[in-house]
Amino acid sequence: MIAFSHYDIALLLQAMARTVELSLGGGLLGIAGAIILTALRLSELRYMFPLRMLAVLYVQTIRRIPFIVTLYIVFFCAGMMGVDVSATIVAICSIGLIAAAYLCEIVHGGVKTVPVEQVEAALVLNLPLWARWRYVIGPQAMSAIVPPAVGYLVLFIKDTALASQIGVVELSQAGVILSNRGLPSAQVFCAVLLLYFAISYPLTCLSRLLEKRIAVH
């Protein structure tokens, strides 16, 4: 017996779209942040030293704070500074802040897999900075970055559930709303879990596939 009305299903689907929006927005912000952080960490200029240390400190610390605490900090910080943005934007920013730190570790690790001799060979060929990244480091680091990055983003889709705590009506919150409206809890949470699974599982498979393909190489 399915007890959902059209409205309930519409709510669930809307909430699912919100979850995808949070994941995508946060993921893209995280990728941008990770690239900036990695660039800071790899810079060899002497006057960049304080910034480099700051980047390392950021990456090391933010990964040790629960997502929900970061979410509260960003939410109340925005409130205190009088920035008037929607809870969704706050959630996307928080996800971006954390994803940047995790992805930075992955990107940095990937860049380090390119053999030193090749980097030096690119240097002595007098390739300018952009060409070293475009032709030598980038393509080879990519294969070490993409599979774990996809794997990580899959993990993060599930953490977007916490955005419910600052009032974003995403998938898990929709479940609570429907359950509180008196719909049978078992069915509601089954539906919610299934919808999450529908988003997450294909990406899990993709990440595994990428890993296998690269292992073959």
């Binding site: 053999p115 001799e117 090749q118 030096e120 060979a121 690119a122 240097l123 002595v124 060929l125 007098n126 390739l127 300018p128 060409a131 032709y135 030598v136 393509p139 080879q140």
Partner: protein, 257 residues
């Protein structure tokens, strides 16, 4: 005036001085070999010549043009006249042999791709690699990889070719091939500097031998075929000659790396 004149190169790691006022000269078309015990600074010295190793002070004259090696901008100038072949070759693993050769000419020197490929194919042909152009480095043998690395260096049309341990990873019969190739290149007017542990290669090939010890130049021997007769160098080669005899290809890994 010598063609290449390197003087007074000092390299410091903290308080340690890994090179102390090292220098050497070379005429055009000479083969120079750096020898010395492990940790004597041979590879470091070689790397300073192409701006991979920051130096405290030092200058390099090429045909009378003086480069201050300690200046930040010197690396680019040094790399315009020199090319290096690494011990591990450093071929770009994701690119075909041909693209390894044409990358720098097309991207840095802005030559047309067709022109660069034409030259690259001719060069590969000369080195006996004509049928390897479209292969990936991973599919080549050690000796083939090395020749590709040499070809890539030659595409830069350097006046100075540096080689780090060119024979250390090769089978004994391949060592002779490399020797012949280097001598050919020298005959064409290229100046070659190599670091080597294989004393038989050094003594048969070198026009000049520079013995380094503890970051300093201990002795220099000159003259094709007789460079090894300088007394200090002969003494070093005798004590390490046992090594060379037992390990003719220098197959033993260099503990410096």
């Amino acid at each position: 005036m010598p063609y290449i004149d390197v003087r007074d190169v000092c390299v410091r790691h903290g308080k340690n001085e890994t090179l102390r006022h090292a220098g050497f000269e070379a005429e055009r078309g000479e083969i120079v070999s750096f020898i010395g015990p492990s940790g004597s600074g041979k590879t470091t010295f070689l790397r300073t010549l192409i701006g991979l190793q920051p130096v405290w002070q030092g200058q390099m004259g090429v045909e009378g043009r003086i480069v201050d090696m300690a200046a930040p901008a010197s690396a680019r100038i040094l790399r315009e006249q020199a090319a290096i072949v690494f011990q591990q070759y450093g071929l770009f693993g994701h690119m075909s042999v041909l693209r390894n050769l044409t990358l720098a000419p097309t991207v840095v020197a802005k030559r047309s791709r067709r022109d660069a490929e034409h030259e690259a194919r001719a060069l590969l042909e000369r080195l006996g690699l004509a049928n390897k152009a479209d292969m990936l480095p991973a599919d080549l043998s050690g000796g083939q990889k090395q020749r590709v690395a040499i070809a890539r260096a030659l595409m830069l049309r350097p006046s100075l070719l540096l080689l780090d341990e060119p024979t250390s990873a090769l089978d004994p019969h391949k060592v002779r091939d490399v020797g012949v190739l280097l001598r050919d290149l020298a005959q064409d007017g290229m100046t070659i500097v190599q670091v080597s542990h294989a004393m038989n290669v050094v003594s048969s090939l070198s026009d000049r031998i520079v013995l380094l010890e503890d970051g300093q130049v201990r002795a220099v021997g000159k003259g094709r075929g007789c460079a090894a007769q300088q007394p200090d160098i002969a003494a070093f080669m005798n004590t390490h000659g046992g090594d060379a005899a037992a390990d003719p290809a220098g197959l033993r890994p260099d503990p410096e790396h």
